[in-house]
Symmetry: C2
Subunit: 485 residues, 2 copies
């Protein structure tokens, strides 16, 4: 025991001297602290300080390195906060055991994964920075409202602690709900702020509504093709899905009616404004007829409207025609503001709000207080309106350019969208989307093959391109190579 202590003291002395030699004398406190931290880290990495060994005392290290004790204290505190060292009261600081290393299975895109509704999400969300993601459903960070976001964070950093630490009120930020009520008014949807519930995201909003509306075994009508995550989500709800072809102005109404009669679905989930993946826009006539059919057959509808801010001229909204009677509207700010803040919302008839609110508390307790404050700050920043205008122009240009470059390879947009980031393209003769997607993935390019969107698996001759993520020449080179191979 005495020998061990003696040995430790010697090691500590050596470490202190080594450190004093290695560390250049920095000029400010912050850099000095970091230098001490870095020195300890490199000793641990080099195994001159092994797990369990005691660090030099604060006083001895400060003295041997000609630093103030408070500098060493702060460095040790920060290393302890990182979990690299640990204090034992009255006995100093010790090196902790290293974390179990990350398994190789956790890293990189997975080539072996089947193309299912989660294929695009998993691959795109897991992708490293150097991977191209023309198949993903979001804009690059450089397209987002940089200055307004940074300003919002700075403002919040000086703001009230309650907003920074408290749970959100059950329905969510009242000022943001007021603003949302005004914004939905622009699409002709009349709703009071009390008819809105804020959620963590558009997906969580749809999920909450599915919990509210569905029982396991129910039948749900979806578009074919539709946003792949609707299928993934509905699987999690253990319901049966029936698909109806989506055409240039909305779902195929003859087929829609037939499904209502024969399958009695309880719910229909769709995007009307800018349809995902096709980029189609609902026509007023289809909206009217669809709602007549819904009324006749007691169908409830979730209208996922998360691409609303991409539109120059708002397309018809089922929620507006219907007056939020049997239609529930869902939105979020992930596509044009930030997917990092997590803020979505539901607009619903008033008599459903209270039960939805209970369900929200039961399953997530609260939505993001900070996220809602940040979204509100950006939305009420004069720059955001300008950002949207620029974004629409930039997207229109990118749609044009991407269509031309894909056209040169023989890809043909099935619909010319009025707005948004997607081009739903038919492949050149003889090409299959799953094969192209797998081939390009090997080149570090994540595509969105048609069948990821298709319940009937009838879209293997289609692919969705995100025009904001399709400007790298490697994409077109890889596609060409894959088509030839």
């Amino acid at each position: 025991m005495h020998g061990a202590v003696q040995f430790n003291k010697t090691v500590m002395g050596l470490v202190a001297i080594q450190m004093a030699m290695d560390i250049e004398t920095p000029t400010d406190g912050g850099t000095r602290i970091e230098a001490v931290m870095e020195a300890i880290r490199s000793r641990i990495a080099a195994r001159s300080l092994v797990p369990g060994s005691r660090l030099p005392s604060i006083r001895s290290l400060a003295k041997s390195m000609s630093l103030s004790s408070s500098t060493v204290v702060e460095a040790y505190e920060r290393l302890a906060a990182e979990g690299i060292i640990r204090s034992r009261p009255g006995s100093g600081f010790y090196v902790t055991a290293p974390a179990v290393p990350m398994s190789i299975a956790d890293i990189g895109p997975r080539l072996d994964r089947q193309i299912d509704p989660l294929w695009v999400s998993r691959q795109s969300l897991e992708a490293a920075d150097e991977i191209l993601k023309p198949g993903c459903g979001w804009l690059p960070p450089s397209w987002m409202p940089d200055e307004a976001i940074r300003r919002a964070l700075r403002t919040l950093s000086r703001g009230d602690m309650a907003a920074l630490t408290n749970y959100e009120t059950p329905l969510g930020n009242p000022r943001l709900r007021e603003l949302l009520a005004r914004r939905l008014g622009d699409y002709g949807v009349t709703a009071s702020p009390g008819q809105f519930i804020l959620t963590e995201s558009g997906t969580q909003a749809v999920d909450l509504l599915c919990r509210f509306l569905l029982e396991p075994g129910d039948t749900v009508l979806i578009d074919d093709p539709c946003y792949f995550n609707f299928q993934a989500l509905l699987r999690a709800h253990r319901v049966r899905m029936v698909g109806v072809p989506y055409l240039e102005t909305g779902p195929d109404l003859a087929r829609f009616e037939e499904v209502l009669k024969t399958e009695t679905p309880r719910l229909y989930i769709t995007n009307s404004g800018v349809h995902n993946p096709t980029g189609a826009t609902l026509s007023p006539v289809v909206a009217h007829r669809l709602l007549m059919l819904a009324a006749e057959h007691g169908l409830t509808i979730i209208e996922d409207d998360i691409f609303a801010d991409f539109e120059d001229v708002p397309a018809p909204r089922l929620a507006a025609y219907d007056g939020l009677d049997r239609v529930l509207s869902v939105g979020s700010f992930s596509k044009t503001l930030s997917a990092s803040f997590r803020c979505g919302f539901i607009a619903a008839r008033r008599d459903w709000i209270d039960s939805l609110c209970d369900l929200k508390i039961a399953t997530s307790f609260s939505s993001g207080h900070l996220g809602a404050e940040l979204v509100l700050a950006v939305l009420t920043d004069g720059r955001y309106r300008k950002h949207l205008q620029d974004l629409r122009v930039r997207l229109a240009r990118a749609r044009q350019e991407t269509a031309e470059r894909l056209g040169a390879l023989g890809f043909r947009p099935a619909i010319v969208p009025r707005a948004g980031m997607f081009l739903w393209c038919e492949l050149p003769e003889g090409q299959m989307a799953d094969r192209l997607a797998q081939a390009c993935l090997a080149d570090g390019i994540i595509l969105a093959p048609g069948n990821a969107f298709s319940l009937s698996q009838s879209a293997n001759r289609f692919m969705r391109f995100n025009v904001a993520q399709s400007d790298d020449p490697r994409l077109f080179g890889s596609l060409q190579k894959a088509m030839a191979g």
Copy 2:
């Protein structure tokens, strides 16, 4: 038509002149912009600008007020961003229709609500600032790590746009998961960073696990009393609940075994470290025996460990004894860091991670990128460790003081907790918790009556007090009055 235009021009001129007269000449751009905004707002409030009316042109207003055009442009942009005015391209700015007013039903605490598992949450989350919340389950903002949080926000505001706008990777921030792996190591739970999934909250983590583990109609074992939201959440999952009395060192094992034999529950949900609401601590012997029973009967366990950071000395963890085999561990940062950021996590056996990750994407697509970055920044700030130390001391003092003040009224803690913010108190002879809770609510005080936590509804002689929210003399005055009345 010509007449209307003429009239509008006159109104516009008048408004411009009125504004010019009202607005004092401020000295900086920001204040000038706000002054223009405020002038427009007050005209709208006074109905001198009614919905639909056109605002003065930018040029004319700038000229009449001796301001630069850019000041007026910025003011109009911001008002448009707030939704109060709207631009019509080529035609200027117009006053929008006012939002539908908030209904009175949306405001204030609800006296008529039955005491059910959602009672405390709804009342506490909806409470205005002046309401006392000794029944709630969180600390006041002034107890949170103020400076570390503000510093984290400032740092992020200068950081990479990807963190501020992108979706999070599927499992969540790798550096935070590494840190969590180290932290759980402190409780003896060995898990690699790849065994962690970040979620929006502890509640969302439990919910995700319930989706993964349960089918409608399954039986789930819970503590009686237990955290009320477990009951609300399990109701949403359409499962059957069976309660087992929770004693000073864990669940009543004789009853636990009996339930395993007769009811074959699939899952048990509990908190071991600091039990909610009782403040009890699991003993090593009970942990061992409970896990033996679980193994024998094929029981899976969710250990909700969100109060971990309150402990000075970690209590036994089921996850540690079991080695994350049949136990899943859940945590969050809502209690000691911020409930506003939304960041929780699951630690699970490796072969369950991939399916849990798919389910996370399907039901919420992503967890909070910003929230995780902020939590990481605060956790690795040297001040956080000091914050926790101070917090524990402050809570110990508050537990002592609150116990004394409640003791003077005849309330007796059923258990003297080692850590945390809760005191589970037996009421004075003859008093009933539901009646006291309703009476105090009328005084603007939200309590946590025992039956909100009790599946068997056998806890009406108990009440949970949050010692960090129980320092206002009004609480004790109101209790005394209610008990006498």
